[in-house]
């Protein structure tokens, strides 16, 4: 453009700057429009996010391998340096664990027999999908990782994600071949939990620090540093009894929990399909949103059904009278 110069330049250059300015203002407005759209949290945004995860996952899958091998190398060097201490520690731990194994065997036999006696219905079996962490997203503003498993492997939104140590987070968006996992330390994360010893219920709320908070704890709850925190299984989102962390500090206004996992060492994660589709399944969300409408609409067709089923108990009472 600049090479042509001449009268054209003089006529159109104000127009061009005006157009540029207009484009700039338009982009600013569309940025704010996007913020509003994202705040509305539509299914569309979620799909786009999942698609973008799918888009980069083949690249990340390859590129994260060298990174993982570099990490392995540094780990090896560290381990060599600490071989003797590690061995001693493992020997002690092994002794300890053997004693626990005996206890666990006795208890599981006893438990099985008691369950037989009580006619206990066991919870649904756990289906696990193992996958690799291919990206660590967010940094300062969000705590999430990308894993190399998606709807292709049976992963869907809301499922619990666990590491060797314990609960890591939940699936936030599931693409076809990759998914985003929202860590329990993220500010958007809320997990129903129970304190192992006292069985006090609470929520574990992330706040983008490495130590999430215990919220909605009752005033008389007995929580002390060192107490283990487990998932409670309420709401059907997570399997109950998965270890999450240990209470690290208790103060007047905040109880903080140290999670079992360390974010920078996450490598392989398992996605637990509990068969309940989680609390976040679209069906449930739709049900809760359209509950009022359904009730008003379904009143008339529901009555003939209800007559057969609902009065089943009052009927004998009526006959008796």
């Amino acid at each position: 453009m600049a090479q042509h110069g001449g009268p054209q330049q003089r006529i159109f250059s104000p127009l061009r700057t005006a157009l540029h300015r207009f484009a700039f203002i338009l982009l600013i407005f569309s940025a704010f429009g996007l913020m509003l759209l994202g705040k509305a949290d539509t299914v569309l945004i979620e799909r786009i996010r999942a698609a973008s995860a799918d888009l980069v996952s083949p690249v990340m899958n390859i590129v994260s391998r060298p990174a993982a091998s570099i990490n392995e190398l540094t780990d090896k060097i560290y381990n060599l340096a600490h071989l003797y201490e590690e061995n001693e520690r493992l020997r002690r731990e092994n002794q300890h664990l053997l004693a626990w194994q005996q206890a666990a065997r006795n208890l599981s036999h006893e438990n099985a027999r008691l369950r037989d006696l009580a006619g206990y219905t066991s919870p649904p079996a756990l289906h696990l999908v193992t996958s690799r962490v291919i990206a660590d997203m967010g940094g300062a503003y969000a705590h999430s990782v990308m894993i190399s498993a998606g709807s292709r492997d049976g992963v869907s939104k809301g499922q619990a994600v666990i590491s060797d140590e314990g609960l890591v987070g939940r699936v936030a968006e599931a693409g076809y071949q990759a998914s985003r996992v929202l860590l329990i330390t993220d500010i958007n994360s809320r997990v129903p939990v129970v304190v192992e010893n006292s069985r006090d219920r609470a929520f574990l709320s992330g706040d983008n620090t490495n130590r999430p908070l215990l919220t909605f704890l009752t005033a008389d709850a007995a929580v002390a540093p060192g107490d283990r925190i487990l998932t409670s299984g309420h709401g059907g989102a997570f399997p109950p009894g998965i270890p999450i962390g240990v209470v690290s500090s208790v103060s007047e206004n905040a109880v903080r929990v140290a999670p079992m996992f360390r974010r920078h060492q996450l490598e392989y994660l398992r996605v637990a399909d509990y068969g309940l589709h989680g609390i976040l399944s679209n069906e449930r969300i739709q049900q809760s949103q359209s509950a009022n409408n359904e009730n008003t609409v379904d009143v008339s067709p529901d009555i003939p059904d209800g007559v057969g089923i609902v009065p089943a108990t009052p009927d004998p009472a009526g006959e008796a009278q």
């Binding site: 705040k39 994260s64 291919i134 300062a140 958007n188």
Partner: protein, 171 residues
């Protein structure tokens, strides 16, 4: 002289280099790195590249490109949509208009310039993200992220300068 198809393709590919370099840096930002500090606060690599190209080749990295790259960053990192778009767009527009100031000056001037630009950029990102999430995000992670961003800028700028000198000299 009329350039052939391949030559034209070559020119287009070279013209896309700045945007592509920002995309690559975005992916590098996503790599799981087993350093405790980097997992909670990562350097804003895309911001560095957008600043560098806006100063040196504003014709090849326009506001629209910066906006789209910001959108991609938000989508990939699970951040509130639109925040990075706005920040990168503002940085692009601001640095492109002040680009002349940095020409024919030693690199340290550009470094200082970037360190100054990064403060409001990260501050706006922190404020808007906090507002959209509805809770104050810990400022400590943002501070660490800022220091990392400012310290690592020369390394990234050096790589980008190498790419610019070898591939974009005649475009």
């Amino acid at each position: 002289m009329k350039p052939g198809v391949w030559q034209r393709l070559d020119i287009i590919a070279r013209g896309l280099l700045p945007a592509f370099s920002v995309f690559v840096l975005l992916l590098i930002n996503l790599l799981p790195i087993s350093v405790p500090l980097l997992s909670t606060a990562s350097p804003a690599l895309a911001l560095m590249a957008v600043f560098y190209w806006s100063v040196n080749r504003p014709d090849l990295l326009t506001g629209v490109t910066a906006f789209l790259l910001g959108l991609l960053q938000d989508l990939l990192m699970g951040l509130p949509l639109g925040v990075s778009s706005l920040v990168l767009l503002l940085v692009q527009t601001g640095s492109a208009s002040q680009g002349r100031f940095f020409h024919n000056k030693p690199f340290s001037v550009m470094w200082w310039g970037f360190a100054l630009v990064a403060i409001p950029a990260l501050l706006v990102q922190w404020l808007l993200s906090s507002a959209l999430i509805g809770a104050l995000l810990p400022i400590k992670a943002t501070l660490i992220s800022y220091v990392l961003t400012a310290v690592l800028f020369p390394t990234v700028a050096w790589v980008l300068a190498r790419a610019q000198n070898s591939l974009l000299r005649y475009v």
